[in-house]
Symmetry: C3
Subunit: 469 residues, 3 copies
Amino acid sequence: MAWTLDPDRCFSPVPSVRARARELYEGVRGLPLVSPHGHVPPELLADESARFSDPASLFIVPDHYVFRMLYSQGVPLESLGVPTLDGTPVEKDPRQIWRTFCAHFHLFDGTPTGLWLKSELIELFGLDVRPSPETADATYDHLAACLAEDSFRPRALFERFGIEVLATTDAATDDLAPHAAAQRDGLPVVPTFRPDALLATADEAWPDRLRLLEERTGMAVEDLGSFLEAVRRRRQHFRQLGATASDHGVADTFVRSLERSEAEVLFDKALKRTIDQDEATRLASHLLFEMAGMAAEDGLVMQLHVGSFRNHNQRVFQRFGADKGADMPVSVDWTRGLHALLNAFGQDERFRLILFTLDESTYGRELAPLAGHYPAVRLGAPWWFFDSLLGFQRYLDAVVETAGVYNLAGFVDDTRAFPSIPARHDVWRRAVSSWLAEKVEWGVIDEESAPRMARWLAYEAPKDAYRLG
Amino acid sequence: MAWTLDPDRCFSPVPSVRARARELYEGVRGLPLVSPHGHVPPELLADESARFSDPASLFIVPDHYVFRMLYSQGVPLESLGVPTLDGTPVEKDPRQIWRTFCAHFHLFDGTPTGLWLKSELIELFGLDVRPSPETADATYDHLAACLAEDSFRPRALFERFGIEVLATTDAATDDLAPHAAAQRDGLPVVPTFRPDALLATADEAWPDRLRLLEERTGMAVEDLGSFLEAVRRRRQHFRQLGATASDHGVADTFVRSLERSEAEVLFDKALKRTIDQDEATRLASHLLFEMAGMAAEDGLVMQLHVGSFRNHNQRVFQRFGADKGADMPVSVDWTRGLHALLNAFGQDERFRLILFTLDESTYGRELAPLAGHYPAVRLGAPWWFFDSLLGFQRYLDAVVETAGVYNLAGFVDDTRAFPSIPARHDVWRRAVSSWLAEKVEWGVIDEESAPRMARWLAYEAPKDAYRLG
Amino acid sequence: MAWTLDPDRCFSPVPSVRARARELYEGVRGLPLVSPHGHVPPELLADESARFSDPASLFIVPDHYVFRMLYSQGVPLESLGVPTLDGTPVEKDPRQIWRTFCAHFHLFDGTPTGLWLKSELIELFGLDVRPSPETADATYDHLAACLAEDSFRPRALFERFGIEVLATTDAATDDLAPHAAAQRDGLPVVPTFRPDALLATADEAWPDRLRLLEERTGMAVEDLGSFLEAVRRRRQHFRQLGATASDHGVADTFVRSLERSEAEVLFDKALKRTIDQDEATRLASHLLFEMAGMAAEDGLVMQLHVGSFRNHNQRVFQRFGADKGADMPVSVDWTRGLHALLNAFGQDERFRLILFTLDESTYGRELAPLAGHYPAVRLGAPWWFFDSLLGFQRYLDAVVETAGVYNLAGFVDDTRAFPSIPARHDVWRRAVSSWLAEKVEWGVIDEESAPRMARWLAYEAPKDAYRLG
């Protein structure tokens, strides 16, 4: 049976809606891709000759969206080649890993990962059979042959994808050499300032990070003031390399400024390594508040990703490290949590705050009302588990009535899976087209407004929200 | 391009559903409007000759649903003529305010406010072009000319709208003269008893309110007992003017009776102005419990509006005051919060409690189970941000399976925007018709039951729930 | 007007979806019923000659789904024949109870209870008029005549329903004689180990339960160790009678192991009846953790039903007892609550945990991510208020994109209303067929995958999840 992509995928099957969705989609499908937030390794694009080594290393080993699903059904991560920190041996043969993946491909039925993979495999790589135990070897060979071609180098794909700008996510102490290299060759690849590790003062590795900060900035960090000055310099350096945004991942929404004297005492404890976890949490909240103040000065757009309980499965964390599909969402309280921050900066026109949640119950209850009032706030795209057709529908249903579309920041692909970028944007563009078409057919959006709204959501919103170009 | 209203707006585009929705809607569209909860200023209707002064003062200046959306996109409230408390000058020219509004009209695309405005402007005022920078002056002139006509006086509109009864919302100490005046002329305008300000004993203005209470009742308030007696008399006075309900806006659901002695001590502290905020919160909760007790005696239906963090943006509050689009919802806990109250009064047949939430996650989890058990409880209409097509769908989807439709209180327009009343009821009636049609077509509601359910939700439920007529 | 069942009920009215839904449904409608969790009294099936006595005793008196709805509209439970604990007299005439029910049958319009009743009355009992005041006596007579026939004995219905296996829910100290009797006659009726009452050490009745435990096991319980050993023996006894699962109903998700010494001290207090409620709650959480440990040893699948505030209406509880429609859901926190438990057993392949929630906001936020990661976790069917067409849609919409379908445990009917079993499974099978058809038509599930997914959800998933056969 031939494996084909439905040309009307992600469009409502209601005939009048589908017809209008197709029309709206035609108006946005070919627009350049704007990717203001994601996790593509910049090294991929730094070097013209970089290549993807094999199908398993491309599709499976680095992608926790993929391997966590197999793990949930009892497939050991070791058998999928996920590298271990503790020396436990793992499968090294990419063909064997691919076979295991193919034997479990049905697990992805009905999931966005399944849809992205299908799109990539068919549209990008030209497969015409579905991965299965029977097709594992043939599909492996086909993909491996593709990857050996020049046209599948990351830079070739970058061009083929029509990416107008791509932002990576980078530690505050990263040297950004890959970005400089890519930019020298004309690639629009910019960094994003993510200082999380530098604000986690109780971490064992924090002193090393601090030393690296001193090295990067050429200044000594002796107290809170000099630390903040060093951070400010790094932000400036990121901006020189084209960064327009910072990114902050925190467990909860409460961002609170401490008295300066208290913050200084806590920071001194951090320097002396006598800070405990509770103090470090208080200090991190204060430092995030300081970041907002810097953002109001330097104009870097502040992204908050809130509500993930990281590394919930401690055994997976100990053996494999972070970002292994074991992060679990928790409920959050944006209204109370951001009260202080928004009262300080929420109407400051230099300040821009983009909010991302894993708690969908806050879409309509908190996020849309906040975005529909505070000039500084834009709502980030549906995040992570909700980067999906139904996730998009729920998001638009929940927020647009209250916040309109012009307080939304559009789409971010947020991916480390480089070849999935076009498929992800395409699902968003299709979903937006169908959603708008549906509302026009329900008689609640003017027919003549819909194309402008589609273009905004598909292309203009992220440029505007992230102050790109 | 002519600006027209879709005659099938708010109906599903699935052909079989739409056909049935039209039929059901025909059965309810012309029923009189029952408006048991809202914020229309009674003064508008007290005087036969009252008029709306100009389009900006009618549509923009008093309507926080409208101006908060422009504010969210950086339009200063001052430029929209919103009056300030601190003397900051504001735009006074209504034409200029209207122009600013027209320049941002696209912000309302996809929002219920946009749909209400469109309905009003086309159906009520006969506009045929969409507000935009180009049409700002012409539409202003058209609307201003309408407002100069006798047929656009509030009382003329009241009649034209087919309002069977309209309840306003009034402080416990209001003198209700406008209601008396309107009633003398035969208008069915009744007050609603809202004692919130009188229960906020730590407020700076509380002693003034207390003096006014003494004045209105002609009795001295010297302790908790005499305070409650004075409140009881005011309830009686409201009932004499046709009130059938009280209304209570509180931050959280926890309503708890204190020991009488503790309550007396706290009230004495309030009288002596030594009460602190925590004590005042405890006392307010107790006083609300007392209100429930009075409701079980005098039969005033008790409405609870819970879960709004008022005046979240302190700068807006300081400059412009309350109700300026800066209230933000928070999550609530109805199950635990109302435990004491419902155990005291939940099966008392004289007691009726109507619940309103801004936390949609409680619809199915808490509110529908409570309403589907306690005889006293009815579920209020989707409130505020959820007074919308999708809000109605989510509400009906979440509550009817558990509570049925006969535990729902129907619709309230809850508006201070008088001319929007018919448009709001119409969206509800259309949404209900489409929703019921959909369920009939899904085969889960009997065809012959649907018209009765539509009539109940559109017209009978609020009369029954609010003990009107 | 004839009362008929729509053959396309629970199918989307979108024509292309409906056509495909019919097809998928044809593939699963006739599969045997697997009922791994419910509350059918095993006595019904122990004796070949057992009969249902009359329509009221079958449909109304024991079913809190039914009588709570009438109660919510002011119908006293006494008038519905619900037995009292305090000697208050109740209606005894089944015909009179049936009349009261018929007079309020419209309350069930739009509810799953209404749909189940309709299906049973038409399909099973051959009614062709809708219950109403006018039809009350005729329908009563018709149903009573049916119940007098041999073919309406519980065992006859059991066979007619095509039940492959039925699990009941039984106290840890139940003697399981009915199961043994049913099994001797070849009926696949197995018990489920529910030790809740035995873990509630502060209950007044706990010492009696403990004595019964000693009696059943023939061993003395003198301390925590011997208690756990006795429990272990009971689990073993349940397993010998075919049990494959335990079931645990708890108010919140937090399951935490105490230090052994602390647990022993608390258990001693329980034995001495000096334990207070807080201590008992701590101890119960520890004992549940111990149950998980036993499950990892003996392989009984652990079901957790979390988040019901039991007996919210104390007057109903005092007069009528537990399970009278007065339990109210509360929000829960699975991510933090199960952290310890899942870190201890979440990747243990002998351990299987099936989770049920009344807080739908946790479907996508917590439950699907947990099930999409931990090998031990499966998601239970939509529970109680959400055992409904829309409940199924919301569940599948919220969980499948993240967890896929193969981490779901399929359907459980969870009912004490024996004759409703086929109707409940049928709604699930129809809803699943329509949902899958919709996703195929949206182009996000492969056409060739859908039948396998339908069969899994309708039949295979519960057998797999509950380790049945």
